[in-house]
């Protein structure tokens, strides 16, 4: 077999075999729970794509996932682990909620203002994690997690404090935003064309930024290590901060979409865990950013399908998370195994820069 063909075969096998194994684990878990596995898996599929409403829900889970994953590609390129991305989504949602409450006028005015507020809020939170790394000597993993806790605390404070619902202070969320601040949707579904366009534009923009611009090249140089950045004459600190700013901004847009497209109010768990899930997506696709679109669709389908599974068959929706986690874990292990067999390469799997953290 010619080498190119062999590597393509290998690459496919490295994805297909772990997927089959993850499916096997899922079937075993379902059997252990006393559920007919194939019926459950069929219901999972139906829950994700069964009718127009299901497809709309899946696509609306795809949007924040793609936005966050696109952002993470930028920080990953620079060699940073932006684990605080959930906090950036949350703070974006808080800023978006502030705009939704304050900005008067029609949908054509309020919705763009809300999205921009989310962008700005998320960017600010991302920048904070970046500054902690570049100027505070705090590793971005822990600085980011810390800022995540701060954003969550702030959301809870606002919900039970200044923005509390008329009469009762409950952690269930604020009052609903007024109708003009909701994302316009298609028919009676939750699907928002604007949200889809935002996600696609973000992904396309990220691919162009990383592959077609000098900035992308410089970011990757930083990710490869200080030496290559110096060779290119790059101000590593500024590029690093820009990468956090961009990632945070996209995460903030995801937060805005969650706030005005899904909850229609500010709730404590507004991030929905999409940041962490997006990290899994990016770990799975590695450098091949274009793959984010299909992989995120797969993850979104599992997410919305397993929610339906809980409603219809009373199977705990955490099954979806187990399937996603097992899949990513096995893919990472398979790649590691492959590299072990082929020691000509020195890259370290799981870090797109090839560097150990």
């Amino acid at each position: 077999m010619p080498p190119a063909e062999r590597t393509r075969l290998h690459r496919t096998a490295l994805l297909v075999l772990p997927a089959l194994a993850a499916l096997g684990v899922g079937i075993l878990l379902l059997l252990a729970a006393g559920v007919p596995p194939f019926e459950a898996l069929w219901r999972l599929y139906e829950g994700a794509f069964g009718d127009g409403g299901d497809v709309a829900n899946t696509l609306m889970a795809w949007v924040p996932l793609v936005l966050a994953a696109a952002g993470l590609c930028v920080t990953f390129a620079a060699g940073a682990w932006n684990i605080g991305i959930d906090g950036q989504i949350t703070f974006g949602a808080i800023s978006a909620a502030a705009a939704a409450r304050l900005v008067p006028g029609s949908t054509a005015v309020v919705v763009p203002a809300v999205v921009l507020a989310g962008l700005a809020g998320g960017a600010l939170w991302g920048l904070a994690a970046g500054v902690l790394r570049t100027h505070g000597g705090v590793n971005e993993i822990f600085g980011g997690l810390g800022l995540d806790f701060v954003a969550r605390g702030l959301a809870i404070y606002l919900i039970i404090g200044p923005w509390q619902r008329e009469g009762v202070a409950s952690t269930g969320g604020t009052d609903l935003f007024r109708r003009e601040a909701w994302l316009p949707t298609v028919g009676s579904t939750n699907l928002s064309i604007l949200a889809l366009v935002l996600a696609i534009a973000a992904l396309a923009g990220t691919v162009v930024l990383l592959r077609g611009t000098r900035f992308g090249l410089e970011l990757k140089a930083i990710g490869k290590g200080p030496a290559s950045a110096i060779l290119l004459g790059v101000d590593a600190t500024r590029r690093m901060l820009w990468s956090f700013l961009i990632c945070g901004g996209l995460a903030g847009v995801a937060g805005a979409v969650q706030a005005i497209g899904f909850h229609h109010k500010l709730v404590p768990a507004v991030s929905g865990g999409y940041g962490f899930l997006a990290l899994l997506v990016v770990l799975l696709v590695g450098f091949r950013q274009a793959w984010i679109a299909p992989v995120a669709l797969f993850f979104a389908a599992i997410l919305s399908g397993s929610t339906q599974l809980q409603l219809r068959l009373d199977i705990d929706s955490s099954l979806g998370g187990v399937l996603q986690g097992v899949l990513v874990l096995l893919v990472l292990l398979a790649r590691g195994w492959q590299l072990r067999r082929d020691r000509s390469t020195v890259a370290v799997v799981g870090s797109p820069t090839g560097e150990a953290v």
Partner: protein, 312 residues
């Protein structure tokens, strides 16, 4: 006051186990980021094993085994397969959380076993101190003993020196015929077992029972406490007690300020960032260098080889 201090000592016990465990793991150069998931899965395993066997310490054994297994997986994927530790740890954190939710459905709000209350005869009658330190149960005493024992072991014994060596300069340790990677497996597993015991200390002792995401947030907090503690068991334990105090105060204030009790437990992480930024300031570093007495207290130098795979 006595009652509050007593409950702080008890409330912080799971975090004492977990943060000292992770301190040991990280001192060996392995970063186990999976704590949020592995502690939760261990808490479930501990509860389930105790529930079925009817013996509380069987629960702790099961929890320790789960914690050690997850940690060994993190270490193994890094050592044998050279996969990034942070990536594997992160994936396992999410995976184990969901696994605990899925497998734990049958155990939600069941009545399980618990660690029996055992005041130490004699010692518990010491005025004031007796109630605070010596009228708990065996797990709390073991936590207190662990602080002393792990500090002594880490800084006063040969194998403790080797532990620090393989996390600081693995190449130098290797040159002295120390089996770096084998020891990293061992200490990752030992640390993971302690994390697992921390999980069971929730479900079988201080936060009895099992519920959906029973230990949510605590794993991330332990990671913060380890850094806050500068990879020193005593300071890590201090961080755990500080957090225990916040929890107890939040509980006491709940009837008065219902909102505050939700926000106080979120404080340790920002507090940790603040500490990190502060100790990284150059004036504080200079001060610590000039005054040897302060060096032990203020230094927060990360183990130099933390997260770096070692290939002999």
């Amino acid at each position: 006051m006595e009652a509050i201090l007593t409950s702080i000592i008890a409330a912080a016990t799971p975090l004492v186990f977990a943060s000292i465990g992770e301190t040991i793991t990280e001192r060996s150069g392995v970063i186990n980021l999976s704590l949020e998931g592995s502690m939760m899965l261990a808490a479930l395993a501990g509860f389930a094993a105790g529930y079925h066997s009817g013996v509380w310490w069987v629960g702790f054994l099961a929890a320790a085994a789960v914690g050690a297994a997850v940690a060994a997986l993190v270490a193994g994927s890094s050592i044998a397969l050279r996969i990034n530790q942070v990536a594997v740890g992160f994936v396992l954190a999410l995976l184990c959380v969901d696994l605990s939710s899925f497998l734990g459905v049958a155990y939600v709000r069941q009545r399980g076993v618990s660690v029996p209350h055992q005041p130490i005869p004699g010692l518990s009658e010491i005025p004031w101190l007796g109630q605070i330190l010596f009228s708990h149960d065996l797990v709390v005493y073991a936590g207190l003993a662990l602080i002393v024992a792990s500090t002594w072991w880490m800084f006063r014994t040969g194998s403790g020196l080797i532990l620090r060596g393989i996390g600081e300069r693995p190449a130098a340790a290797h040159a002295r015929a120390v089996p770096v990677n084998r020891l990293r497996y061992r200490y990752a597993a030992i640390g993971g077992a302690l994390v697992g015991i921390g999980g069971a200390a929730f479900s079988l002792d201080v936060k009895l029972g099992w519920s959906f995401r029973h230990t949510a947030g605590f794993g991330w907090i332990v990671l913060a406490i380890v850094i806050f503690g500068g990879w020193h068991p005593v300071r890590a334990a201090f961080g755990a007690y500080l957090f225990g105090a916040l929890q107890v105060v939040a509980l006491k204030l709940q009837p008065v300020f219902p909102g505050l009790s939700q926000i106080l437990p979120l404080l340790p992480f920002p507090l940790m960032i603040f500490t990190l930024v502060l100790v990284n300031r150059s004036w504080l570093r200079n001060l610590a260098d000039r005054v040897p007495a302060l060096r032990g207290l203020l230094s927060t130098d990360t183990p130099a080889a933390l997260g770096r795979p070692f290939q002999p």
